[in-house]
């Protein structure tokens, strides 16, 4: 590990800690740093402040950290898989596929008066993400041009979004009361049970992906060099697809649509470290995605306070210019 990578990690860890603190102290009811410390060490008797902190802000900020990390890592896996820096769960329609399935399950459950738990939601989102992913893969065997593949993914995204809209249109208002807020995209309203599912899925997948960093590194060079090195390329491909679908499905299930994190964060992190080695990129993307989403969440709830912006509005404003920058840079340099 060279100095630059070492300091990048120090910076990312400091940013994560800093934004976590900022995330739980910022908002319409200000909690001073001193009060924050007393609340965290359980030495304050302020019940309202404790409720705001532990009931609302802490879960929300933790959700932004975990799901942001999940989205960034999912994007990184897709970019590696397709050897394309502008692949991501949102542009390839994978998030929209997940959303369609979650909407269907939510409406179905409301009709049947079944109470849903977070694990079922995550499962539905994973299935939807996986199906959209398989559709993209099917198309990728037909189109050799990488830009065209992205266009295909965007189309799949539109089709899934349209199908979701149709579902919502024919559903009763009472059935979609949950869905309305969720379809704008937000890290809020996470129950502790949902947080636990999130932590389990994202933490587990992060660890699994980290253990794959060696074969992923060989895969990056290209198929012939990976096979030559003794990598089971098919197995690595399947693992990358499953893990990126799980991560983006989990994010879509709990936060709804969150755009551009998956493309912008890996690029920013790579530029920061000046290395594309998976063993560094995997943890750094996760941290970077967390920081990016906590920041976006803080902006979403403070900029137009007391109203709130959709999380995707903020991530688009921050992330889309980065994507444009990547595309313009690609034309100049070599791919």
């Amino acid at each position: 590990m060279n100095k630059r990578i070492f300091f990048s990690f120090v910076l990312l860890l400091c940013l994560t800690a800093g934004f976590l603190c900022l995330g739980i102290s910022a908002g319409s009811a200000d909690i001073s740093p001193g009060e924050l410390f007393r609340l965290l060490t359980r030495k304050s008797a302020d019940e309202t402040a404790a409720m705001i902190l532990f009931g609302i802000r802490l879960p929300r900020t933790l959700a932004a950290l975990m799901l942001g990390g999940a989205l960034a890592l999912s994007g990184y896996l897709l970019q590696t898989f397709f050897h394309n820096p502008i692949a991501g769960p949102f542009v390839l329609g994978i998030s929209s596929g997940a959303r369609l399935f979650v909407a269907a399950v939510l409406i179905g459950a409301a009709r049947g008066a079944v109470l849903l738990n977070s694990a079922v939601m995550t499962g539905a989102a994973f299935l939807g993400a996986l199906l959209a992913m398989l559709l993209v893969l099917l198309l990728s065997t037909k189109v050799k041009n990488m830009s065209l593949l992205i266009v295909c993914g965007v189309m799949i995204g539109y089709i899934c979004t349209a199908a979701t809209d149709i579902l919502i249109h024919f559903a009763d208002d009472s059935e979609i009361v949950n869905l309305r807020g969720w379809s704008i995209g937000s890290f809020s309203g996470m129950k502790s049970e949902s947080l636990a599912v999130c932590a389990f899925v994202t933490g587990g997948v992060l660890a699994a992906v980290f253990f794959l960093s060696k074969p992923i590194g060989a895969y990056q060079l290209g198929e012939s060099y990976a096979v030559d090195a003794g990598v089971n390329v098919t197995a690595v491909r399947i693992a990358m697809i499953l893990f990126s679908s799980l991560l983006s499905g989990c994010a879509a299930a709990f936060a709804g649509p969150v755009s551009f994190v998956g493309i912008a964060v890996p690029f920013l992190v790579k530029s920061l470290m000046r290395s594309a080695k998976p063993i560094f990129m995997i943890p750094a993307c996760f941290l970077g995605g967390g920081v990016f989403c906590i920041l976006s969440d803080i902006l979403a709830r403070t900029v137009v306070s007391p109203a709130e912006l959709g999380i995707s509005t903020v991530t688009s404003v921050l992330g889309a210019p980065v994507v444009l920058f990547i595309m313009l840079g690609r034309r100049r340099g070599d791919a």
């Binding site: 253990f211 030559d228 003794g230 990598v231 063993i279």
Partner: protein, 247 residues
């Protein structure tokens, strides 16, 4: 060292090359000569494990590669292919080190032996001065030398090269082949390669395999197989063309 026994190679149901047999001893070079699409690359890809053999057998040191694990096979056989490696921000040193893949542990961290092998490979290929340069910044000639260092730092027994000199100018073509000639002697490598430059193949090869329409047309020493008339016939050249360009 390397024994190929009536190998048929191709993609799925499409057989591109059939009934290819040859042996290469340590320190020897076998060169496949043939027209574009004759099946040279397909045979090399099959030897490298990129394609499963349709029939026949490949043995290294008497052991069938089909009985080896991926890691064992990668330790024994290493290659240099026409696919351009996607190296992004990798330095030459890192790329060379990536050749140690089958020798390193679960996270690919390099041990002392791995570092020494990379040093040695870069010294032999005279790429030491490029160590910290990005691979994408190099010229084609430098790239091929670095890729050769990557292949040999694994310390394989068999080296496979698919048209290694195709994009190089005459200076780099000759220095590359000179390097290869030295490496195979020092390391006792069994080399199988495809080459379009027949005049260079004649100088460096111990054995030449003429391949045409996926079949082994002839196998033997360069003197007997790379004569002007033999090449004229093999490459379907008119007497006029041969007279004008082959001299």
């Amino acid at each position: 060292m390397l024994d190929v026994i009536s190998l048929s190679a191709g993609y799925g149901k499409k057989t591109v090359a059939r009934d290819i047999s040859f042996s290469v001893a340590p320190g020897e070079i076998l060169t496949m000569i043939g027209q574009n699409g004759s099946g040279k690359s397909t045979v090399l890809k099959t030897l490298a494990g990129l394609l499963p053999p349709l029939s026949g057998e490949i043995r290294v040191d008497g052991r069938p590669v089909s009985a080896m694990t991926r890691g064992e096979r990668a330790k024994a056989v290493s290659g240099l292919f026409t696919e351009r490696p996607k190296t992004d921000l990798l330095t030459c040193r890192e790329l060379v080190e990536s050749g140690r893949y089958p020798h390193t542990g679960a996270f690919g961290l390099l041990g002392e032996a791995d570092k020494r092998a990379a040093d040695e490979a870069m010294r032999l290929t005279e790429t030491g001065s490029l160590a910290s340069a990005l691979f994408t910044e190099l010229s084609d000639g430098q790239r091929q030398r670095v890729m050769l260092a990557r292949a040999v730092c694994r310390e394989p027994k068999v080296l496979l090269l698919d048209e290694p000199t195709s994009f190089l100018d005459i200076h780099y073509k000759l220095t590359f082949l000179e390097l290869l000639d030295r490496l195979r002697k020092e390391r006792g490598l069994a080399v199988v390669m495809s080459l379009h430059e027949t005049e260079l193949a004649a100088k460096i090869s111990d054995t030449v395999l003429l391949i045409k329409d996926g079949r082994c047309e002839a196998i033997g020493t360069p003197d007997t197989l790379l004569s002007r008339d033999r090449l004229r016939e093999h490459f379907d050249l008119s007497a006029e063309l041969a007279d004008k360009y082959l001299g």
